[in-house]
């Protein structure tokens, strides 16, 4: 402690020490004068007797200061000076490290936030999702459970202290404010307490709020509270109209509560008590109820899993018709949210790890190069008495400084890229909202900085400290002995980074090829400037199919009259937006098994559907306005459909029957082009189109194709809707922007393409830089040798050949290793590739050529300089 104080008081102590020693010297001198020497001689004698003043001071300082701290500060000052003196070197090293560390930190942040962070629930590891899975002919793990199954779990299971349910429920809030349709959840009243989630305002549901007459209560999401309700503090107790019913807001969920990974529900309502019945409708209720259970203390997930499978086996015997081939499984609550992206994210982490490695190799290379140009400086320091430890510590200090500055910049870079990634992450990336840099990432960066600083500074430092001052000084600082070995290490490092870069480039090449293949798949429809709004016609106001059809006709008429609206469509659903598969019979093919009918995508749509989406007509006609409720039932089918059932015949005039809704026989009046309604990866091209008027439904979706921006049309749309029904929303829900959504049809590929391409380009630049550095350095080292060669008659071409053959060996070796590693690793990419194999010949040929060209360029620039060497100057410089 006292030493630390001394350290702080250093300037004063320093002065006192000088004064004291001067005093001592003066007294010595005086003594000598008294003994009869002349003042001058006396002074010399005193100095001789006293000894080396600075040396004594140095020893004295060590006694009372903190010599190591002073040494480090000294080294830091020196290091700072060195960095400022070589701004080019410093900038390149710091930037290289910053890119490596920044990219790694950004990707790790995504992995950390999405995969590693637990969900914000109480003891999340005690929560399990309970699901059903089909073990019949085509086994399939469902993401939910059926009602009956849940009821039996609730009655029979003993592993859980509570079981809660949730399922989606989209509704329109009509008052207060403009009507807007929201995505919401119906949850069991114990849902929040099972998860252990506390509301930020108000309360969650009471146990009896699932009984009739008590269930009109809402817990709203934090986002809805801040958005629609402007975060008003008196929100609890407010009345809200959801379509025809009045609800009371009782609570606001916490901000980080996002039970669904991609679209978070806007509000929650209590689910009515599950009806206990054997009514086939209940039994058949689709298996999409999410069930979550909290394990009783001491019960393991394995035991719970065995128990619910056993219960499912009993249910299967009870309801063989619906549950015969069904069993159940449990999974962690987080796992299902992330399972699709986990392997992809880990793949990205591996890729960015390669990038970091390349960056580190580059920095090591630069440090090695610099250490060998500093041989002379270090030799001088050694000659002046610097210990080996001091030399190593000084060089390490410099490399640590570089790595600390690099990671500081890297962290800034990471913040920028994380906000970019979070903003541009594909819709399918779960938990994208929670992506943020946290302490874990920052700590990781610091550790990384220190490790890279030590790791990549240590080798050059050790090497430099072995310098024999005598030899080094004699060699006029050329340091060919140390440099020669340094160069071979550096060649190895360059070969290493070339191989890493090749692996990254190969991955990027494959993804690019795959993306190009995707882009070439014709979707069969266009969606420019199309917007979508979901509607549900409240049954109280639109009870009959006729009233629903009337609404659609009036709305089509009113909206079409708005200037700027190109076309107005109402349909059951749209390509890439929802699914409506229906069973059908072909009247000519009665042999189709009536219990196992085929399904096709069935679009129930108004006639403008085809023109609005630019679907091509192959034969016959589109649906038209005359195909109304009074006309004969008709249908239009896709080309694949026509070819499958009517090969070599005219499909027009044939008939088919949709089992739902009416079972009427429909005449095929037209054949249209296939569309890939689930995106380019989809192989489903069996499609049937039915006129809306002949099969009305209460929840048609509205599609608008507009000529101006949708924003300027909103007021006119609202006015038009008010003229028909003021309680219905025309909100274009932002995430349902049709154009964007279709861009997101292959989001993972797009995201992968972007990231892999970025990594690959950076890797390419860094390795080119590495090659450039090594060649440039070796050219400088060999100036004399090249001079001699030129003087002896070598041509510029010979010199170029010599340099190229050496660089070529190093790059070639790296590429060879890279190719082998690529062959072994591209299979991990397989599930992200479309239209090409993981050993795609084009990529495997093009990528090495591309990398080779870059390497050639990186080598040519410094090599050309070598040919410009003037033999006379080169030889004279000796």
């Amino acid at each position: 402690m006292a030493r630390f104080l001394n350290f702080l008081r250093k300037p004063r102590l320093e002065k006192e020490m000088s004064d004291e020693m001067r005093h001592h010297l003066d007294l010595l001198t005086a003594q000598h004068i008294a003994a009869g020497l002349s003042p001058e001689e006396a002074r010399y004698a005193a100095l001789r007797e006293f000894g080396h003043v600075e040396g004594i001071k140095e020893n004295a300082r060590d006694v009372r200061g903190l010599p190591w701290l002073e040494a480090i500060l000294h080294d830091l000052r020196d290091g700072g000076r060195m960095l400022r003196k070589n701004p080019g070197f410093s900038l390149v090293t710091i930037l290289t490290l910053a890119i490596g560390i920044g990219a790694t930190a950004a990707i790790f942040t995504v992995v950390n936030s999405v995969v590693l962070q637990p969900l914000p629930y109480r003891e999340p590891d005690r929560l399990l999702a309970l699901r059903e899975s089909y073990k019949g002919k085509q086994p399939f793990r469902f993401t939910g459970a059926g009602r009956v199954t849940f009821r039996e779990w609730l009655a029979q299971s003993t592993s859980f202290s509570s079981l809660a349910t949730a399922y989606p429920w989209a509704r329109t809030i009509t008052d207060p404010g403009a009507p807007v349709r929201y995505y919401a959840w119906r949850v069991s009243t114990n849902y929040f307490s099972t998860l252990g989630v506390q509301p930020v305002l108000g309360r969650t549901f009471l146990p009896d709020e699932n009984s009739p007459g008590k269930g009109n209560v809402l817990v709203i999401s934090h986002r809805l509270w801040l958005g629609r309700f402007n975060g008003r503090p008196d929100i609890i107790g407010q009345q809200v109209h959801i379509e025809d019913q009045s609800y009371t807001i009782v609570g606001v969920a916490p901000k980080d509560f996002m039970p669904e990974p991609v679209v978070d529900p806007a509000f929650f309502v209590p689910d009515p008590d599950p009806i206990i019945s054997t009514d086939p409708k209940v039994v058949l209720f689709p298996r999409y109820i999410e069930v979550v259970g909290r394990l009783k203390p001491g019960v393991t997930a394995r035991e719970a899993s065995q128990e619910i499978s056993a219960i499912s086996a009993r249910i299967a015997r009870l309801y063989p018709a619906t549950n015969a081939d069904w069993t159940a499984y449990v999974t962690s609550v987080l796992e299902p949210q992330i399972e699709e992206v986990k392997s992809f994210l880990l793949l990205l982490l591996a890729a960015v790890g390669f990038l970091l490695l390349i960056a580190c190799v580059n920095v090591a290379n630069l440090l090695l190069a610099r250490a060998s140009t500093r041989t002379r400086e270090i030799a001088v320091r050694c000659a002046l008495g610097a210990s080996r430890r001091r030399i190593i510590s000084q060089l390490l200090c410099e490399s640590l400084m570089i790595s600390l500055l690099g990671s500081a910049l890297g962290i800034v870079l990471a913040y920028v890229s994380v906000s970019f990634l979070a903003g541009h992450a594909p819709l399918s990336l779960p938990r994208a909202q929670v992506i943020a840099i946290d302490g874990r990432v920052l700590a990781g960066c610091c550790v990384l900085a220190i490790l890279t600083g030590l790791g990549f500074g240590l080798a050059p430092a050790l090497q430099a400290s072995k310098v024999n001052p005598q030899l080094a000084l004699k060699e006029q600082g050329r340091g060919t002995s140390a440099g020669g070995r340094g160069l071979s290490i550096r060649r190895f490092l360059v070969a290493f980074e070339v191989s890493l870069a090749l692996v990254l480039l190969m991955a990027a090449g494959l993804v690019v090829r795959s993306f190009a293949a995707l882009q070439q798949v014709p979707l069969g429809f266009q969606t420019h400037t199309a917007y979508l709004a979901k509607n549900t016609l409240p049954p109280a106001h639109y009870p009959t199919p006729e009233s629903q059809d009337l609404f659609v006709q009036r709305a089509t008429e009113k909206f079409s009259a708005i200037p700027g609206v190109h076309s107005v469509v109402f349909a059951s659903h749209y390509p890439a937006f929802g699914r409506n598969d229906r069973a059908y019979k072909i009247d000519r093919h009665p042999e189709l098994d009536p219990r196992n009918l085929p399904y096709a995508a069935c679009f129930v749509c108004t006639p403008s559907f085809f023109r609005a989406l630019d679907i091509s007509l192959v034969q016959g006609r589109f649906l038209e306005a005359r195909d109304d409720a009074k006309a004969a039932p008709v249908a239009v089918v896709s080309r694949t459909f026509a070819e499958k059932y009517f090969p070599g015949e005219n499909p027009i005039g044939q008939s088919l029957t949709l089992v739902n809704p009416d079972g009427a026989s429909r005449t095929i009046v037209g054949v249209v082009g296939d569309i890939r309604d689930m995106g380019p990866l989809s192989e489903r091209t069996l499609q049937i189109y039915v006129p809306f008027s002949q099969a009305p439904m209460p929840n048609p979706s509205l599609l608008l194709r507009v000529e101006t921006s949708i924003g300027t049309l909103q007021p006119a749309l609202r006015r038009a809707m008010d003229a028909i029904d003021a309680n219905l929303p025309v909100s274009i829900v932002p995430q349902l922007d049709f154009t964007d959504f279709l861009h997101e049809t292959y989001p993972t590929q797009r995201f992968a393409l972007f990231l892999f391409a970025t990594f690959a380009v950076v890797a390419l630049l860094l390795s080119a830089l590495g090659i450039y550095g090594v060649v440039a350095y070796s050219v400088t080292q060999r100036t004399q040798e090249i001079g001699i060669r030129l003087a002896l008659g070598a041509q510029a071409r010979d010199i170029l050949n010599m340099i190229f053959s050496q660089t070529g060996r190093m790059v070639g070796a790296g590429m060879l290793v890279g190719l082998v590693v690529s062959l072994l690793t591209t299979r991990f990419l397989k599930s992200y590739l479309f239209g090409i194999g993981e050993y795609d010949l084009v990529a495997f040929i093009a990528v090495p050529i591309f990398l080779g060209l870059a390497a050639w360029l990186a080598c040519y620039l410094p090599a050309r300089r070598a040919t410009k060497v003037d033999p006379m100057t080169a030889l004279r410089s000796e």
Binding site: E20, H23, D26, R64
Partner: protein, 110 residues
């Protein structure tokens, strides 16, 4: 420069300095003169060891330094013993006595 006098036995410098300070505050030069004089030129403290030793002793709290004015009217740093220094001196003296009598015994035995 060859050393005329034998090096001080290790650890004895502290003892000599503490001992020299017994008679009251003196400055660094004074200490070296005092040691040389009282040992009749037999012991000579190198300045290179003296000052680090002084700072170390000061650090340990055995001696205290103050600025004062010397005989020739110059500002000088005077060292004096602290209470702890006095106790330490007693310890060092007894150590030395034990050590030297032991060495004498060994020498006489041969």
């Amino acid at each position: 420069m060859p050393k005329a006098k034998p090096d001080l036995l290790q650890g004895t410098l502290d003892l000599l300095i503490l001992n020299a300070l017994q008679r009251g505050p003196i400055h660094g030069f004074g200490i070296s003169v005092a040691i040389r004089a009282t040992s009749r030129e037999a012991l000579r403290v190198e300045q290179g060891s003296l000052y680090p030793a002084l700072y170390r002793l000061e650090e340990q709290g055995w001696i205290r330094a103050e600025w004062g004015v010397s005989d020739n009217n110059r500002k000088a740093r005077f060292y004096s013993l602290t209470a702890a220094g006095r106790r330490q001196l007693a310890v060092e003296v007894s150590h030395w006595e034990q050590l030297s009598s032991a060495i004498n015994l060994v020498l006489k035995a041969t």
